[in-house]
Subunit: 345 residues, 4 copies
């Protein structure tokens, strides 16, 4: 049994990691940290785990964490993560970092969208944790930068088109809608029930920090730089991201032809399900699961293709993908602890 720590366990991503890891046959939860709740039983903070998790929240003590675990998940805000990750790596641990701190390969780009990077020397060896693109690199890495939720949904939707040069790479629009758990568990007016319920709005228009991450992934598989218009919106649901992606086709293709390309591209990737022609995915179809469902429609009228992808932002968009990455890092079956049927309704 591999001993596992979750650093920052009292956020929504943290409890989701716990939910998945409790049932992992090769991993044992050894340490959960929470600055806010240190000293409390985890099951007091999250009564859903009563009788199933018997750990107490610890403060963030790097040495204690290193002493307790072999694999460390850091579910901390950006900047806070890079304060501790180097010490875990120095102790020989495997780290899956769920923050943004090691996702961008270029420290200057990181500084432009976030702030100065304090451990840029780690960026070169960090694997970007999208197994559908970098499975082998992840398997060999000590540090995996777990992708952002929006970038995961956008990348899986668009990779087959870009890899095959099927779209104009200056024409891409990614219109994304996310459930509110993506905003975290911090008490903010904008996340209050009465502000979100019966509400819907865009935010970070033309300025969201996930934009360079999406562009980095898509550019990596293209001859040149890919630029996208990305607009996130806040959905009045707990979980789920749906991205509606638009791009101009470089040649006339039918929906069926494009779907065939998607089916082949993802044939060996068990968590991507391509929807049959004539159907589109719903976030409700992947709730609580690590699946990404994708639907495609080619529109001959406008010469565009519309790709719709859905994920659970807390699973494939965060904790589930993190466990998928841990599985690869440990040489386990990629799907271990992740094969459950989505919860519907």
């Amino acid at each position: 049994m591999v001993k596992v720590a979750v650093v920052g366990a009292s956020g929504y991503t943290g409890v989701e990691l716990v939910r998945i890891l409790v049932h992992h046959p090769q991993a044992e939860l050894a340490c959960l940290t929470s600055r806010q709740h240190a000293g409390k039983k985890f099951s007091e903070v999250f009564p859903s785990t009563a009788g199933l998790v018997d750990l107490t929240c610890e403060p963030v003590d790097v040495d204690a964490i290193n002493a307790s675990a072999d694999v460390i998940f850091t579910a901390l805000p950006h900047k806070t993560a890079m304060e501790v990750v180097p010490a875990f790596l120095a102790a020989g641990k495997k780290v899956v970092d769920l923050s943004a701190d090691y996702r961008l390969r270029d420290a200057d780009v990181y500084q432009q969208w976030y702030q100065e990077h304090t451990s840029p020397e780690l960026l070169a060896d960090a694997a970007y944790g999208l197994p559908e693109l970098y499975r082998d690199k992840i398997g060999a890495a000590s540090l995996v930068a777990n992708p952002g939720c929006y970038p995961t949904s956008a990348a899986l939707a668009l990779l087959p088109l870009i890899e095959n040069r099927l779209i104009e790479t200056t024409s891409i629009v990614v219109d994304s809608k996310s459930g509110t758990s993506g905003a975290g568990r911090a008490a903010k007016e904008g996340s209050l029930f009465c502000e979100v319920n019966e509400s819907f709005k865009a935010y970070g228009v033309a300025s969201h920090r996930h934009t360079p991450e999406i562009e980095q992934t898509l550019s990596a598989v293209n001859a040149g730089t890919v630029t996208v218009s990305f607009t996130p919106h806040l959905l009045p649901v707990d979980r789920g991201i749906l991205s509606t992606c638009y791009a101009g086709l470089t040649s006339e293709l039918t929906t069926g032809e494009i779907l065939k390309i998607y089916a082949e591209r993802y044939a060996n990737h068990p968590f991507v399900r391509v929807r049959p022609e004539g159907t589109v995915p719903d976030i409700a179809h992947v709730r609580g699961s690590n699946y990404c469902d994708i639907g495609v429609v080619a529109d001959a009228r406008t010469g565009r293709v519309v790709v719709v992808s859905v994920i659970d932002n807390l699973v494939k968009g965060a904790a589930g993908q993190a466990v998928q990455n841990m599985n690869l890092m440990l040489g386990l079956d990629e799907t271990t602890a992740l094969g459950l049927v989505p919860l519907f309704p």
Copy 2:
């Protein structure tokens, strides 16, 4: 007092017409029809109106309706509307039709997206009921085709850009999200609570019937034909449409410059509120009201402008705009019975 009939009063649009008209100082509700509930008190069908509406639902009897009212709102499904509208007009009534039957000026286009038109001779004189574009024509019309909910949100978002030739008219993407009341009150599996709640999906991708209506409105103010990629989505809220519109700018413009154009365009249109720079609208800001709030962001990185508009689909997207049109047809102040503060939260 003008006597008013609502034909098809037991749908969500019908009860919303009643809600607004009850408080109209120059109109009197004279007749409400409902095939399904004929013979029942309207307040039994909609207990919200108990003590406020004392009418009984009537069957759809054209002669009886003509005998009872001067202005007739037809809130019927398409095709069903054109079975009765000609008879109302023949009797000299003013009609605001909330179906799609008289919105498209070209009977062939109607046939292509809907079915054969049975009164194409009325199309030439029907006014398209978007007061922000056709106020004078509406004022002179006997038949007003009340716009669709999505087309209203898209047209108000895009008109200033197209009228001023600021965008590439082949580059337009309209990504719209609607509350579930837009699907009507018919008992369908897809509209059940457990199918919509905690769910989000696209539908009618590249094939929704509101597409030609949006294109007709935008093309009318452009030198040539405008084509749009339009994708509607179903939101788990009762009311509200948000449209996120993308288009390539033909010249470099700042957000402030574009907002100034919007402010001038809508200066004399009391129901359009242009949001200050740096803010975007939320459907929760217009709930229960006839307002359309619009926010704009110019994105120099991609050369695109992003325009976000919100309306209440049952008010500015249906019943409220219909009353606004009636006010214009009767020479009343456009805002009569429509000036209420939105309900928040």
Copy 3:
């Protein structure tokens, strides 16, 4: 025109007062205060009011408020209200206080459930602002203590039974469920969307501060002291309270007989609507309105009566009832600015 101030205008009750008062034909909004947002335009804090309210949020300055207004609504937390109310009264103002500070007639009871009272001398003359019970006293008062939301729903449900000695007064159970706007706009973890959505829970079981207020109102119309078991619950909706009240009948009565008593009791009270036999009310039937809808079922099997009442907690449970009280204090028609049809759906 009477000049009106809303002290504490940036909470949900505050914006609801503004929503109603904007349309009041005899009142003019003269002053809005908000400690948190002082200096900001009110319409910046609540974009729903853009174009309709052109006031700036002021700090809480008693002299400035006294100089600007004749009637003052205090929508402040308990304790904070009693810090300013005496000064408004001393200046000869009429005050409707929406906090709990002047609701309990006995300063000792207040101290037991809240804290020490700093102006107990005002309690004797404060009218309890439930017009269906104290209309005349309210009309003559300078200070009206606006009832709590739960106590309003419970009192209107139970008054006819207690006034007519129809139930055992030791047998009463009040099981109430409230929308989340009742928890206010403060940023608290427990009010976050993801904590409330798809959730339902009881709170304050056997210890909620509204218990003595309910008992005071019911005891006042009974020969002896009435004790109730009161349990509030948090509903994942924005607005609405439903109270399900149980009590043992002192004699055999049919549902019809009891409904007749309710109909007579509330015949002259325009905001109470008694539902026809065989139907029960829904919070959706009163959304955005000042109505209280009541349904009754007598259960011969158990010898109990079940009374279900619904209100909008922000309207009849707060702002609407406050305006109703102001109308009475000013000698206006009780329903002024309050007669709108509820918003459904």
Copy 4:
């Protein structure tokens, strides 16, 4: 591997059975029936199961079902179930019936609340499938009548009090609130999103068919007949039942003393979690799981005890309890396939 059939698989209970059984290590899904969707792939009806379930919906053919399976779950409407259950038993199958048809031991009571019973001879041997009360009988049964969702929540809340003679058995009030999946997947106006969302109402007041089932279970462990006032309400959530139960205590007991009794009563029942003193359960704590969480408050003021229980109506209230019963019938560990952490948020 035991072969399993789900008869009536296209309702919400059916898909939940499938969700759980897919991961059952000793059971294999062999047959799924659906009158409405016969001939369609199950994963087409429920896309959440794509890639995980590869069965086609079959018509309800008793012989074919008997030929394919050893254990049969009937998730059919009442009356429809008793049309097929006898034939399954006659073929030697083990049956877990999720309808109401075999829950009431007295055919006359069944007839009074439902209709005439067509196989009353089976009632004597049918086990009532509440493992926390009838574990041994279930283990020996061929036919298990899976309890109703409300009765499960009420029985688990009240059994310890009644078994220990701690409450007046004429004083019981059960005020229950259920998520909308309990209303099934049939297309009914009352189950539409816009009718349920932002709504809350009681239904079946003093007349709901689960009343005699609750009373039967409680009376069975009491010296005499127990009568309850039971009121169900419809919650705008997908899943979850919360029951707030009130009863007069026969002696003075503290919350701590009562909690101790609960802890002992359920010590050997892994799916009942008793909440620590000072906390109450939330339906969100058991979402997607087979747990029943219970909180208790003794109220010295009124002499009553308030017990709050929560379950997921589709799991412990239906499909999960059905699998728990199958496990017992097959001599397996009661918790097989049921031990997952609830999904939060």
